[in-house]
């Protein structure tokens, strides 16, 4: 075992559902959100006697893509094993998983701060059914079983205990989701991504606590922050930390003990001989490599070299697949530096303000191109453009028509601008006096007054120049 030295040591086991049409070992369509419970199942995913699994090749290809993206060494053979344990969500009381030889091992993934996190293994397995506790996880007297999920394809990603804080754990999840997104093997809207976290702190001499079933990357940080504080608190009050498995209650924002961990569980793995060993040939991997899309790091390189934008901007744009793709489309029509500035600053700002992700809003690159063309040609000011963007996020509309209708075109007619400036100077003699006395800030007041008169349709720099010229005259 590694000798730990850090304050906090975290390793993650992440389960991610891959976005295939059908389940891993039968031809059942995967259930959609509104499907009735137990309406997407067959004798195979219900584990009926005599039924046999047949492997979904697409699911293997998706898992291989992930292994390649995470720089894993890929096993030449795909072997499935039975992981035996009794649980009511298990249709066969064993789960078809992988054991001795995972599909991929020894990979890595980089965090935003540049730190590389080791990946021990990536393997494939089937999802169990979902259990519904009608009166809450701890309180329910009975559970209901929904087999719609039973047999869905999962990839499990196991990291080295390289993560040093809840923030790093969150960022790892975020980076992983970015990779999954780029690979188009994960449905961000409907797919499930869950993590079990192993966490230990220096104060407890690194006694390992496992927290099960944390859903999503925001939750992982919350759960781990809670757990670190809980452990420190226990120790402060003179209590011992014992190895145990805990669950995360997202609603209450707490973890609670499920069971003490005295020994490792014994799952009695054997090879599942209902499935044959699948050869992962070099030829197959080559074909998959050909299909591999550009990943975030490829995009960053391309953006810097081709579009000459700053690396920092490129990294922010590439971190999200949708944003990166939008940038590429916009940069084909608009000056890339202007496009980068608007997408990474204004668009991200407006999205954050509305607590939305790009894939959740309706606007597409055409709206952005329309908007930025007006900016590029100085037909509208930055100020006006920002306000339009805020409105666009709520619901898209025809920008040109809107600008015309609302008379938002920038005042570019010099004589008209001069008229507003003259008025402003006339109305604020005190400010002019102050300026002449050397109070440079007084000029801003005049400019602001002109901007007000034009309803923001003038560019401050231009107004500034005109006012200065007029004062000198």
């Amino acid at each position: 075992m590694k000798k730990f030295t850090g304050d906090i040591v975290i390793g993650l086991e992440i389960h991610c559902e891959t976005d295939t049409k059908t389940k891993l070992f039968c031809s059942c369509q995967k259930a959609k959100k509104d499907d009735l419970p137990n309406s997407r199942c067959c004798p195979i995913c219900l584990g009926h006697p005599g039924s046999k699994p047949v492997l979904n090749k697409k699911a293997v290809e998706f898992a291989l893509k992930l292994c390649l993206a995470l720089n894993c060494e890929i096993s030449p053979e795909l072997i499935f094993s039975r992981k035996s344990y009794f649980y009511p969500d298990m249709s066969k009381n064993y789960q078809i998983s992988q054991y001795e030889i995972p599909l991929g091992k020894g990979g890595s993934l980089k965090l935003r701060n540049g730190k590389e996190i080791g990946i021990i293994r990536v393997h494939m397995e089937e999802d169990p059914a979902s259990l519904i506790h009608p009166a809450g996880l701890k309180e329910s007297q009975y559970v209901l079983v929904d087999y719609n999920r039973s047999g869905n394809p999962l990839v499990e990603i196991v990291t080295e205990p390289d993560l040093a804080s809840p923030e790093e754990a969150r960022d790892f999840m975020k980076q992983l989701i970015t990779v999954l997104n780029y690979l188009e093997i994960f449905d961000i809207n409907a797919g499930i991504i869950k993590a079990d976290a192993n966490i230990s702190i220096k104060e407890s001499e690194y006694t390992r606590i496992e927290i099960k079933n944390i859903t999503g990357f925001k939750e992982i940080e919350r759960a781990l922050v809670y757990e670190v504080n809980r452990q420190k608190d226990e120790i402060k009050h003179g209590k011992m930390i014992h190895a145990e498995t805990r669950a995360w209650d997202s609603e209450k924002g707490i973890t609670f003990s499920l069971r003490k961990k005295e020994t490792e569980e014994d799952y009695g793995y054997i090879i599942d001989t209902d499935l044959t060993i699948v050869d992962i040939t070099d030829k197959w991997i080559k074909e998959i490599k050909k299909e591999m899309p550009e990943l975030a790091q490829d995009k960053v390189k391309k953006f810097v070299q081709k579009h000459k934008i700053k690396k920092e901007d490129a990294e922010i744009l590439a971190a999200e697949k949708e944003l990166a793709e939008m940038f590429e489309k916009v940069a084909a029509e608009i000056n890339p530096i202007l496009a980068a500035k608007w997408l990474r600053r204004e668009l991200v700002r407006v999205l954050n303000y509305n607590k939305k992700e790009l894939h959740e809003v309706e606007i597409d690159e055409k709206h952005i191109i329309d908007l930025l063309k007006l900016v590029e040609n100085k037909r509208i000011t930055d100020n006006v453009a920002s306000k339009i963007l805020e409105k666009l996020i709520e619901k898209p509309f025809d920008i040109k028509e809107y600008v015309k209708k609302e008379k938002l075109e920038a005042v570019s007619d010099i004589s008209e601008l001069e008229k507003y400036c003259k008025e402003a100077i006339k109305e604020n003699p005190k400010a002019i006096e102050d300026y002449k006395k050397g109070e440079k800030k007084a000029l801003n007041f005049i400019v602001g007054s002109v901007m007000k008169k034009t309803k923001g349709k003038a560019t401050p720099r231009e107004v500034n120049e005109i006012v200065l010229r007029m004062i000198k005259d």
Partner: protein, 479 residues
């Protein structure tokens, strides 16, 4: 006696009223069952509706009807093979009342070819035994057709006994470690267990997935070949099904055997084998030689020495995971809903599994545990590979290998009771090894002693079922 092919001709030519025939046959089955317990379920309703459908199609001069290979032939089905809407228990109380939602692949094939399903035959619970005495809680033990105080062998006991008793009938059996040839030997009929993967296992209730094979049992070699013709072939629903072209097994019946080479397994004769059995098997070998085959001794050490240990290690490991699904949820036996899930399923399994099923679950679970996996389960997998290699080497020289099918005559039930579990397991010594190696093998009846049948075991290389049929029919001809 008329052959099954003559019978089919008569059905096609409307010389037999198939509905009336089936009705009488079902009545006969009921009579036989009262005495011998060969059925867990007689599927009277299904059989008669199939017969009526055939009659209708014949009347309408349906074009396809005349091409059906099994038209009107009664087919019995070992109870671990799923038949849609017909109670399928694998001989276990834990599945009592269970009616599958789908037909096993072999059942689809049999139905397509006009075979009439007459019922589900009795067996050791989940196939766990060699005498059909390890039946599930509340099930009846089938009896030997030649002596009711003796065993008809197992685990496809009902299938073999019925094949001896009922004419114009072929049985679907299943073998994991010898469960087709051994009961066939005890009941004096032919039993063919094909190459692993030759027949789809889809719809077969698993005992040990890497060993289970569905095969056929019949009074005549041509019956066995006919049913094999129907059920063999690739099935996309079974990942282990072999994607190789189907063969016309019937064409091997009565095909001359001149020049074929037979290897007599040296270790399978001598100590531990009853004298009369040896004598009769050697008579069978002489029959083959008279027909022009050449026989010669060969030593095969591994299969006889390590077969039993290897087999029980792999079979129980796999079985213990296969039986986990039976927990009183979704289907099969239920108990009062009380206590936690663990308490509930423990109660269901305690009261609905028989002793041998429990023994094998315990053995298999033990062999899979951390620390023992490497010593037992994984070691057994390696020995299996070595055994296959040794057989393969022999088949470079021989077309088939021969031994007795069983080392004893069908034993009396009172003597079986005295056996320890290990002695019980040792009965399979001749048959487990070809099963472990996935090789096709055939029981050929070669004679009687004390009015009890004796069988010879023929083993061929993978996918060489045809050679077995060829040799089997040469001995049949010699009778």
């Amino acid at each position: 006696m008329e052959s099954i092919n003559d019978f089919i001709k008569n059905v096609k030519n409307d010389e037999i009223d198939i509905v009336e025939h089936t009705y009488k046959l079902i009545e006969e089955c009921k009579e036989i069952n009262k005495e011998y317990n060969y059925f867990n379920t007689i599927s009277e309703e299904l059989a008669l509706s199939q017969a009526k459908e055939i009659k209708k199609q014949l009347k309408n001069n349906d074009k396809n009807i005349k091409n059906k290979k099994l038209l009107g032939v009664a087919i019995s089905v070992k109870d671990n093979i799923c038949v849609k809407d017909v109670e399928t228990t694998a001989g276990s109380k834990i599945l009592q009342g269970y009616k599958p939602l789908f037909d096993a692949h072999v059942m689809q094939k049999v139905k397509e070819e006009g075979g009439i399903i007459i019922g589900k035959t009795s067996q050791d619970e989940f196939g766990f035994g060699g005498f059909s005495v390890n039946v599930g809680v509340g099930f009846k033990v089938p009896k030997n057709p030649f002596d009711e105080e003796r065993s008809c062998g197992g685990s496809s006991g009902g299938a073999a006994g019925l094949s001896q008793k009922l004419s114009n009938h072929i049985a679907l059996g299943e073998s994991t470690g010898g469960s087709i040839v051994e009961p066939a030997s005890f009941c004096g009929v032919f039993g063919l267990c094909p190459t692993y993967g030759r027949v789809s296992r889809y719809g077969l209730i698993d005992f040990a997935n890497s060993l289970d094979k569905i095969g056929s049992i019949g009074k005549n070699i041509e019956d066995v070949a006919l049913l094999m013709d129907v059920i063999s072939g690739y099935d996309k629903n079974d990942s282990t099904s072999l994607n190789v072209k189907a063969e016309n097994y019937e064409s091997y019946v009565k095909k001359p055997i001149k020049g074929m080479k037979i290897g007599i397994i040296k270790e399978a004769f001598g100590s531990g084998v009853e004298r009369e059995i040896e004598k009769n098997v050697y008579n069978g070998i002489e029959d083959l030689e008279e027909e022009g085959a050449k026989a010669e001794e060969i030593s095969l050490e591994l299969p006889i020495k390590y077969g039993i240990a290897t087999y029980y290690m792999i079979a129980t490991s796999e079985a213990s995971t296969n039986l986990a699904k039976f927990c009183g949820m979704r289907y099969g036996a239920v108990e009062k809903l009380e206590g936690s899930f663990n308490e509930y399923f423990t109660r269901v399994r305690s009261s609905n599994f028989g002793d041998e099923a429990k023994r094998r679950i315990i053995l298999g679970t033990f062999a899979r545990m951390t620390g023992y996996r490497e010593a037992f389960y994984l070691k057994a997998m390696k020995v299996r590979t070595l055994m296959i290699n040794e057989y393969k080497k022999a088949f470079r020289k021989f077309d088939a290998l021969v031994s007795p099918t069983a080392s004893i005559l069908p034993p009396k039930f009172e003597d079986i009771e005295k056996l320890t579990p290990l002695q019980h397991y040792m009965i399979d010594v001749m048959t487990v090894s070809p099963n472990v190696a996935g090789l096709p093998h055939l029981n050929v009846p070669v004679g009687f002693e004390k009015n009890l049948p004796i069988g010879m075991l023929l083993i061929a290389d993978h996918l060489q079922e045809g050679k077995l049929i060829q040799l089997g029919s040469a001995i049949e001809k010699g009778k």
